[in-house]
């Protein structure tokens, strides 16, 4: 009963028009829920609504009752209802359709009921028929409002879709009703449905004596007036239904029934000849739909009109500039507009559907005239625009027709190809294998560009028609492939012609080369066994292209074209797995190029050979293998060019042995270095700078071209690991290097390649590389360095640098260690730690990085649970920090390394190296989340104070290194300790370091004694702050803001800190916009503006000025009262920036100035 009470309330609420729509929706919802739950039945509801349904007040009756009932039914779509209920309801709504006041409710009621699906109780066919009849008789659709019209169309659509039989019974009536409803409709959503209704009607009455057939003319008249669609009001409606969708709907409606044909085609042809581009596109699309649906026999009548119209469209939409560039080698070479594309589609459709259409094409006078045009001009540029157009369009028409079907291709080739060949002077092959061509007849070949273009288009079109090998076996090869035999007859001469086109080309005219290469490419891309190009001819193409690559000495267009063509053919062979062609490709292209790489003496510059080889070979895995082998050999041979291998140098080997013995007797490092020096100077080595350069280029090629494609190419990893090992072999077998000129570059390249190869290799391969490298290093003179005691005197005594060989070995070994994963086993860790320690104190940063990586990846725990390593993290740390007291682990300022850093002992050089090294070790520890990093940070911060604990002043250079150490610690490094090199990375390690160091740095800044120390502390802080994730900064904006601002003003003094300044400024700009920082930014607005105003004239870095101005513009988001007082200041600064030397700054200044002007009074417009 309570439900009923509420019901009355809700009903009242819904009926009351003065209430808000949300109110209505609420009460509707409430009633619907109670119905759905079964608290209330439909019958009860109707009884309760009795008064509203029968009242004489039109508004209440229409709105309250009928609409309510209708919307209710819409809610209950899935609730099963009794058939009797449905029947009586639909009867009620059907009757109400006649009453115009309640028509909306009646329509939505009918619609809701008709839409009901099987299980939930449906409207019977008889009732549906009644609805349709009532609707057709009593509703005048076009007199209704927009929403009601839409309901009408939806109802029609639904009826036709769900009750086709009932609607067929109604026959004419439905067609009349539809015609009447559509007439004059202008609203896109309604039209969309209306077009669909027409389509449904057409489907319902396919018989030629049916109502659609008899009313076709009227019906078509009503829909054709919309063609071509044009939106007059672009703003509002377009959002609901895009023009494209509506136009597609219209096109489907027009093409829905063949009965429209006599009216549609003439109309479309007329519209096609219009000048409006939209009309052209729409009619072409629509014509294509019609061609599909109307059938060949009906379309045939119009061919005579259709063909000229289509041809005109093609002519009008083609532009005459043909591109001879690299990018168009695999595309048509000219721009395709939408009209053009649609015209091509239509042509293809027509030819495919009915071969007799082709007759019109073949007999067309314009098409036939093109052969005269071709032979009139030799070069494309010489042609008149009209001739260019002629050639382009005709080749387009012919190639599209040829592409449509095998049959059409045969006809086109039979009719035109021989003629074309005649024009070009290309001669047929008389007997297989033997050519008519002799020395004299080649002269007769006339390379008309237009003709070549046409020829290439035809060949490219035909190649798609060759069935793949599987299809080939199922369909018997018959005469239907006659085009194949035609091409076959000419293939040899064609290839020759294209070849001569390429060869005759010179640099200032790329057209010859382009057409030649494109032609060769087209000839080379025929698929499968039934290809008209024989294997020997295919090989000839490859040979020609390869020789172009090998013969050129500079990067010309021809060279690039040939390379691209080869790559295309390579990937084509791979895609269709053509084993026979792959073999030819391997033998001709790959082998030749690889042998070019191997021989360092050829006319082609080395980088170009490498580029060509890597591009071509990466098309198939087998080629890659071959290439890496070639690279290996090339590396070895050029490497041995600039270093002396052990073999022939027996005398020096003796000296070396003596020296080694003397070292092993530990007679001192000095003697070893001297003897090494002696060796280098006595050996007369013909240092070949070119080979060094070749070597480094080769390594760069491996790193840049091959490594990134590792995942795409199978088996590449294995070959690369072999490559790395053979690099070590090569180094092992040579003693002395003679390089100084390009040496640095080579070492860099070698380190990079080695590191990256190790980085991508599997753990097993890593182990084998490490083992190999370790063997090399232990046979070298480097182990002697391990035994150097870690005392200042010993380190200072080590004045002379390492020999070049040792340096190379050390750097490469460091790279191996950097790239190794934590799971790889490293032998003899303890002595390696010693070695790296001594080397970085000697100034080899790579060693410090390697040490950091090692520390990062070693297992923790005493004794070493992992059998692969003989040393735990703790032990390694003990060695590094060299404690006197081994009972507890410390790494702070008490340690030897700490003391050097703080300048207690040793020279300045040693100090700065120690600081840099410490930073890398610290980074390794920091990333794995080890506590020891805190003490390292303390040492580094100690270095930033102006004096150390014993009162000695620290050198500025040491302080600078210490400040930069924070950058090393916090930033993501490219060269080591990153994901690529398998670093152990604890999450949030940056945040942790931030929270430890920032408070200390802040207090140090407050207490700093000298300006220098203050600046350096700010630099360190800036490094930390700018490398931490933004969210951390935003959480701490309040605390950080003032120190950031101070930092900005301190750093802006010296141009040395410009990069740091910029990154700090970016941090500030990040806080300005965020909601979290807003409050503190607002509080500090005056300081921020003051600081930014100063930076707008920062002379050393443009981006600083630009960002500062952008920040000023963002500040306008702050409350007006906070910023208004500063507008004069800001405007002054920004006005000055209008005269900035850099354009980008000026642009920002204009925007910023405008924004700030608009907050001040309106009386100053400028």
């Amino acid at each position: 009963m309570a439900a009923l009470n509420n019901l009355t309330e809700h009903l009242e609420a819904f009926v009351d028009v003065t209430r808000s729509p949300t109110h209505h929706a609420e009460s509707l919802k409430a009633i619907a829920t109670s119905l759905e739950k079964g608290v209330l039945s439909i019958n009860q509801l109707v009884v309760e609504m009795d008064m509203y349904l029968t009242t004489t007040d039109d508004v209440v009756r229409a709105r309250g009752s009928i609409l309510l009932l209708a919307e209710m039914l819409d809610y209950l779509k899935s609730k099963p209802l009794d058939n009797a209920v449905v029947h009586s309801l639909i009867g009620f709504f059907t009757a109400k359709l006649a009453e115009w006041r309640s028509v909306r409710g009646a329509l939505s009621g009918c619609l809701a009921l008709i839409k009901r699906k099987g299980v939930a109780g449906v409207v019977t066919a008889v009732d549906a028929e009644a609805v349709a009849k009532s609707m057709a008789q009593s509703i005048q659709v076009q007199s209704l409002a927009l929403y009601d019209r839409k309901l009408c169309f939806e109802l029609l659509e639904c009826l036709l879709e769900q009750y086709p039989e009932a609607m067929i019974n109604l026959g004419d009536l439905m067609v009349y009703a539809t015609c009447e409803a559509i007439d004059g409709e202008k609203d896109p959503p309604c039209l969309m449905i209306a077009f669909h209704v027409v389509e449904l009607l057409a489907r319902l009455f396919p018989s030629p004596s049916g109502p659609v057939a008899s009313e076709a003319s009227d019906l078509f008249e009503f829909i054709s007036c919309y063609f071509p669609l044009h939106y007059t009001h672009t703003k509002g409606d377009e959002a609901s239904i895009p023009r494209e969708d509506l136009s597609r709907g219209l096109s489907l409606a027009i093409s829905s029934t063949p009965f429209f044909e006599p009216y549609a085609i003439p109309l479309l042809l007329e519209k096609l000849s219009a000048s409006l581009p939209v009309a052209k596109v729409d009619s072409l699309k629509c014509l294509k739909d019609c061609a599909v649906n109307y059938g060949v026999s009906r379309m045939k009548k119009h061919y005579k009109d259709l063909w000229p119209a289509l041809k005109d469209a093609l002519y009008a939409s083609t532009k005459t500039d043909l591109s001879f560039g690299l990018e168009s080698l695999t595309s048509p070479g000219f721009e395709m507009g939408e009209i053009h594309r649609e015209a091509v589609n239509l042509l293809q459709r027509l030819v495919k559907q009915d071969i007799s259409f082709l007759g019109l094409v073949v007999e067309d006078i314009r098409v036939n005239m093109v052969f005269d045009t071709i032979s009139r001009y030799l070069r494309y540029e010489e042609m008149l625009d009209t001739s260019k157009l002629e050639v382009l369009v005709v080749s387009q028409i012919l190639s599209v027709s040829a592409r449509s079907s095998v049959e059409s291709c045969n006809i086109i080739f039979e009719t035109f190809f021989s003629r074309l060949m005649n024009t070009l002077g290309i001669v047929e092959k008389t007997s297989p294998g033997d050519l008519v061509h002799n020395e004299n007849s080649t002269v007769s070949t006339r390379l008309y560009h237009g003709g070549l273009h046409l020829c290439i288009e035809l060949l490219t079109a035909s190649k798609d028609l060759i069935p793949s090998s599987e299809e080939c076996t199922s369909t018997p090869e018959s005469a239907q492939q006659s085009w194949c035999s035609i091409v076959n007859r000419f293939s040899a001469s064609l290839i020759e012609a294209f070849t001569s086109a390429v060869q005759s080309s010179n640099d200032d005219c790329s057209a010859d080369a382009y057409l030649g290469v494109k032609g060769l490419l087209a000839m080379g891309m025929f698929r499968g066994g039934s290809s008209p190009v024989s294997r020997s001819e295919f090989e000839k193409i490859l040979t020609t292209l390869t020789s172009i690559i090998a013969a050129n000495s500079a990067k010309t267009v021809k060279w690039e074209l040939a390379l691209k063509a080869l790559v295309c053919m390579g990937s084509f062979i791979d895609r269709y797995s053509e084993s026979e062609k792959a073999m030819s490709y391997m033998a001709i292209v790959v082998e030749n190029l690889v042998s070019l790489v191997r021989s360092s003496h050829c006319s082609l510059p080395h980088p170009m050979i490498l580029e060509a080889t890597s591009e071509v070979c990466s098309t198939m895995p087998t080629y890659v293998e071959k290439m890496v082998e070639g690279f290996e050999e090339a590396f070895c041979s050029s490497f041995s060019d600039f270093c002396v291998s052990l073999g022939p140098m027996t005398l020096d080997r003796k000296v070396f042995t003596i020296v080694s013995v003397s070292i092993s007797n530990k007679q001192g490092i000095e003697s070893f270095l001297i003897s090494n020096y002696y060796l280098e100077n006595t050996c007369q080595v013909n240092g070949n700078f070119k080979s060094i350069e070749n070597c480094s280029q080769l390594l760069e090629c491996v790193t840049n071209k091959l490594l990134p494609r590792l995942t795409e190419i199978d088996g590449l990893e294995k070959s690369l690991v072999n490559f790395a090992i053979s690099m070590w072999n090569q180094i092992e077998s040579s003693i002395v290097f003679s390089y100084d000129f390009n040496g640095r570059e080579f070492v860099e390249a070698a380190m990079k390649t080695m590191g990256e190869i190790v980085g991508v290799a599997s753990v097993d391969s890593q182990n084998s590389i490490i083992q190999k490298a370790y063997n090399v290093i232990s046979s070298s003179t480097l182990p002697a360095m391990e035994s150097i005691p870690l005392t200042v005197a010993a380190l200072e005594g080590l004045q002379r640098n390492l020999s070049t060989r040792d340096e190379l070995i050390l750097s490469l070994f460091a790279s191996v260690i950097i790239g190794a994963s934590p799971k790889a086993s490293i032998p003899d860790v303890k002595s390696l730690v010693d070695l790296f320690l001594v080397s970085f104190l000697k100034g080899y940063i790579r060693a410090a990085q390697a040490l950091g990586s090692m520390i990062n990846k070693l297992v923790t725990g005493s004794g070493g649970t992992n059998i692969s390593t003989d040393c735990s993290l703790e032990e390694a740390c003990d060695i590094i920090f060299h404690e006197s007291d081994s009972s507890k682990t410390i790494c702070g300022s008490e340690t030897f390394l700490g003391k050097i850093c703080l300048g207690f002992c040793g020279s300045l050089d040693l100090q700065t190296r120690a600081i840099t090294g410490l930073a890398w070790i610290g980074k390794g520890l920091l990333m794995r989340g080890d506590k020891r990093v805190n003490e390292i940070a303390l040492v580094l911060m100690e270095c930033l104070k102006s004096t150390n604990s014993s009162g000695n002043a620290l050198h500025p250079s040491a302080m600078k290194h210490a400040a930069d150490a924070f950058l090393t610690l916090m930033s993501d490094s490219e060269v080591c300790l990153n994901r690529k090199f398998h670093a152990v990375i604890r999450p949030l390690y940056k945040q942790r370091f931030f929270s430890i160091t920032v408070p200390i740095l802040e207090s140090l800044i407050v207490n700093s004694q000298t300006p220098l120390s203050r600046t350096m502390l700010h630099v360190a802080l800036a490094h930390v702050v700018s490398n931490v994730p933004v969210t951390v900064i935003l959480d701490n904006t309040k605390k950080l803001l003032s120190v950031i601002l101070e930092g900005l003003s301190v750093l802006s003094v010296d141009s040395v800190h410009k990069e740091t300044l910029f990154s700090l400024l970016l941090v500030l700009s990040g806080t300005l916009t965020d909601i979290k920082g807003q409050q503190s930014v607002s509080d500090n607005a005056h300081r921020i503006i003051e600081c930014l105003v100063k930076l707008t004239s920062y002379p050393h870095l443009m981006v600083v000025r630009e960002t500062a101005i952008q920040c000023l513009a963002t500040l306008l988001e702050l409350p007006h009262g906070r910023i208004y007082p500063f507008r004069r200041e800001v405007l002054q600064a920004v006005t000055k920036a209008l005269d900035d030397p850099k354009r980008r700054v000026r642009e920002e200044a204009i925007k910023c100035r405008q924004a700030w002007t608009s907050i001040s009074s309106r009386s100053t417009p400028f």
């Binding site: 050393h1100 870095l1101 443009m1102 006005t1135 209008l1138 005269d1139 030397p1141 850099k1142 354009r1143 980008r1144 000026r1146 642009e1147 204009i1150 100035r1153 405008q1154 002007t1157 309106r1162 009386s1163 417009p1165 400028f1166």
Partner: protein, 159 residues
Amino acid sequence: MVSGLINENPIVYEIKERRDVRAYSSNTDELSVDAIDQLEVFDHIRDIKDPEHPYSLEQLKVLTEDSVEVDDTKSRVRVTFTPTVEHCSMATIIGLCVRVKLMRSLPSRYKIDIRVAPGTHATEAAVNKQLNDKERVAAALENPNLVEMVDECLSPSFE
């Protein structure tokens, strides 16, 4: 006021491609100076809307790149614009818009000259005089209706 538009059906031209400022100057070094040049000044004024059509002055060929003359060392700019029709009463408004836009965009050291292309306007001399008279420009910008109109034309529009 005249009812209806002065030029009801203007010819709309295709516009030139724009120079990407960032690509243009990012690789130059810190010390190099990008002098204010013809194209930069043209960039400032090309998007000004015509007072009576939803097209930019560039689209209507009222302004072209060549209509701007710049001498950065002597701090001079001269803009010569071509009204679409000879009797165009909007010429002064267009000139005023160009002047305001340039005053907002160029450093204050510049002297800005604005004139109607010779022979393209019925009252050429009068318009030129009006546009280059400091007092009259200032007075015009006191007029709230004019300012509103100018702002409307300068508002970053359709692109």
